[in-house]
């Protein structure tokens, strides 16, 4: 097996590490699915995975094209409804981790999945919220996975679909929400949030990148601590499970 890894594999492995055993995790589309299955199949066998449409703890044997693909529901323990998953588990306050992807985020972890600018200066309408707004509003913490790019990590995003720390400080609590984003995982670095100002803060840099590579490709200036370690690379076993078990056809990790 090739122990080199690509950035997607590192992001999935880093995402998986954020999940503790026995936690309840609400999972969005794409890389969050890979990271969650990876956690479940390694250090977090007792975590509970939730998909918004009414699926708990599936064990897929084939990769799916999205949450609407029955491949992703295979061998679930519960098949129910939005009201069950997003109401009686998420809105009730039982979700420890919300795991989301995004098209754009700002320095407070607010996410956009609704509108993106096109080259002609017009807005294109994308997928909107689905359950992402709900997860961002009610999970005890959220983990965001997205590409590292100045057009995606922006000072002002086109549309706030899913709230992070809103305008920073205590503005999220004032809007009636606890929780908030704990990590943003990109293909260059992992970010947390400053405990007071709630600004994005570099936690670790992926091997092969410099702090300039990270900060120079962002549309806002993150908090940079004096010492920033490198991100731990994916373990062999993590890579094996991603490549052989979760995504052998490279549908997620293309």
């Amino acid at each position: 097996m090739d122990f080199d890894y690509n950035p997607s594999e590192l992001m999935a492995a880093a995402g998986a590490r954020e999940i503790k055993d026995r936690e309840v995790v609400a999972v969005g589309l794409g890389l969050p699915v890979v990271a969650s299955f990876l956690a479940k199949q390694t250090h977090a066998p007792n975590m509970t995975m939730l998909f918004e449409l009414g699926v708990i703890d599936p064990e897929p044997v084939h990769a799916g094209v999205g949450l609407a693909d029955p491949r992703v529901w295979h061998r679930a323990k519960v098949l129910s409804s939005f009201v069950d998953i997003l109401g009686s588990i998420l809105h009730k306050g039982r979700v420890d981790v919300g795991f989301l992807g995004g098209l754009e985020t700002d320095q407070y972890g607010n996410l956009n999945t609704t509108l993106v600018g096109d080259p002609r200066g017009k807005f294109r309408h994308m997928v909107g919220s689905g359950g992402a707004n709900d997860i961002a509003s009610s999970a005890k913490r959220t983990i965001i996975i997205m590409r590292h790019d100045a057009r995606k990590l922006k000072k002002t995003i086109s549309f706030v679909t899913s709230p992070g720390y809103v305008t920073g400080g205590d503005s999220r609590a004032k809007a009636g929400m606890s929780g908030g984003p704990s990590r943003v995982i990109t293909d260059k670095a992992i970010f947390g949030f400053h405990p007071e100002t709630k600004q994005m803060m570099v936690i670790s840099i992926h091997p092969g990148n410099t702090i300039e590579d990270v900060v120079g490709t962002m549309g806002f200036a993150p908090v940079v601590p004096k010492k920033v370690p490198f991100t731990e690379p994916p373990e062999k076993e993590q890579l094996r499970i991603i490549r052989e078990v979760i995504d052998p056809r490279k549908m997620y990790m293309g």
């Binding site: 918004e52 693909d69 997003l86 909107g128 706030v160 809007a175 549908m251």
Partner: protein, 299 residues
């Protein structure tokens, strides 16, 4: 009470301008045969709602049947965006009221229980709520929790005129079973004035009585029952048939411009007499048999 009828008659019961709750989730259990028949009959001015916008909504918008869409975003999963919906939003021909999955689900739930309003923690601090307040004004409000003094957002119930449900099994009275996850379907049926069932299998009431715990839609909500195999094609129906990837890709390509979608409609909707004609068009029984679900895998 026997409510069995044809798809054409069931669809004809829906006046232009109605609010229709649609059953699909991106590319699964979408009311595709229904959407094609609505377009064929020339019904117009519909309001559609569903928690996550799906292929049934996209086709109806592309077919010119829709003026207003209430949903929590949507897509065709990896196959692509909702091109017709998104184009309608971008060029202003479609009035889109965008929520999140749970906020639409809670609006249905409130409607299903006869509640006057429903508190929710979602939407706050987002541009969704700003846009909803600008566009509709009257469908959300702020309220003070009389027990704690906290501020809460409350949603107005959704009360569709009719919900369309694509189900696995139903009897002639409309008692229905759904396999797999049910997303918003049960709350939609209960919130709506009435429901039209499109069932893969119509069975005797005797069969329903054997496992009545499985009945998620009671017959008293149902006005019409239509038995129609492969009615969700090209989307999937869990434990019945898989999605038809090639036909969905053809659809996505066709929806990239209004012109190419017109050609698609001419071929697959206007160019066939009914659902049976459509099924022949896409390859008939020989092709459909390749989509048949494995009984253990369910796809």
């Amino acid at each position: 009470m026997d409510k069995l009828t044809t798809l054409a008659e069931a669809v004809a019961s829906i006046p232009s301008g109605s609010h229709v709750a649609l059953p699909g989730f991106p590319i699964t259990r979408c009311a595709m045969a229904f959407a094609r028949e609505v377009i064929r009959q020339g019904i117009k001015g519909l309001t559609l709602s569903q928690c996550v916008g799906a292929m049934d909504a996209d086709m109806l918008v592309g077919g010119g049947a829709v003026v207003r869409l209430i949903c929590g975003g949507g897509s065709l999963d990896k196959f692509g965006r909702l091109n017709c919906v998104n184009r309608g939003i971008e060029d202003g021909t479609l009035q889109a009221e965008e929520y999140s999955s749970l906020s639409v689900a809670f609006r249905y739930l409130a409607g299903s229980l006869g509640l006057p309003f429903m508190p929710i923690r979602s939407l706050q601090g987002s541009d969704l709520i700003r846009q909803i307040k600008e566009r509709t004004g009257s469908d959300v409000a702020d309220i003070t929790d009389p027990f704690t003094g906290d501020n809460w957002l409350v949603l107005k119930p959704l009360l569709p005129d009719v919900s369309i449900q694509v189900v696995h099994t139903a009897d002639a009275e409309g008692n229905a079973w759904i396999m797999g996850p049910r997303w918003d379907n049960v709350e939609q049926a209960k919130a709506s004035k009435r429901t039209i069932l499109i069932a893969e299998h119509v069975v005797s009431t005797e069969m329903i009585r054997q496992q009545a715990e499985k009945t998620v839609i009671p017959g008293l909500l149902v006005s019409h029952v239509v038995e129609l195999p492969f009615s969700a094609h090209p989307t999937s129906c869990y434990r019945e048939y898989d999605y038809d990837a090639k036909e969905i890709e053809k659809y996505v390509k066709a929806t990239s411009t209004p012109e190419s979608f017109k050609a698609y409609l001419d071929e697959y909707v206007y160019g066939v007499k009914d659902h049976w004609g459509y099924l022949e068009k896409v390859g008939g029984l020989k092709h459909l048999n390749t989509l048949k679900a494995d009984p253990i895998l369910g796809y």
